[in-house]
Symmetry: C2
Subunit: 81 residues, 2 copies
DNA sequence: TGAAATTATCAGCCAAAGCGTATAAAAAAG
DNA sequence: CTTTTTTATACGCTTTGGCTGATAATTTCA
């Protein structure tokens, strides 16, 4: 349900998927987020290390939230073996 | 389990809590994330709109991940009523 | 309360995010 | 194919994040 983001590339891919899922154009997202269409393009292509506020605004335009979660690495669990 | 972040203030508070929970000093986090102690301070106080890569680095130093989730607003569902 | 450790803030600097405005390129529609 | 729609790039400009290198200010603790 939640997608971990560890790079601008990953963010870009996620943004594009979310936008497509909502059948929106970059310009629609841009307008809703009060940014330029060019910026949405750059973000989706991972061409820029966006600022936090920008990411939050664009995500909001896509009805999504940024969140933080503890990192659960595949740890060794003796009970499983 | 996951904490929604909608502003730099919220991020700052979450970062500070996570750091305290791990009994780390700002300088420890800074070193692990390859940033300055002053930047960690600024982030925790919501004094700066950090860039995405910076946030990701600092979160990683705290064993946390950034993620995106669909916004689930308490929507009106006729079936419930 | 006084010393030590931790956190907050300052000044100057540079790189880059984001802007407005266009336009080129690519994709979709006809 | 040709037109229309959508997305990617470009240029000049302003703002600001993050840096180095300190130093205040605050908190902790003997």
């Amino acid at each position: 349900m939640e997608k971990v983001i560890r790079s601008n590339k990953e963010l870009g891919a996620a943004l594009r998927m979310a936008r497509k899922a909502k059948s929106m154009r970059q310009v629609d997202v841009a307008k809703k987020a009060s940014v330029r269409q060019a910026l949405v393009s750059d973000l989706e292509n991972g061409a820029t290390m966006a600022r936090l506020d920008t990411v939050i605004k664009v995500l909001a335009a896509l009805d999504m939230d940024l969140s933080i979660i503890p990192r659960r690495i595949a740890e060794f669990d003796p009970k499983v073996y």
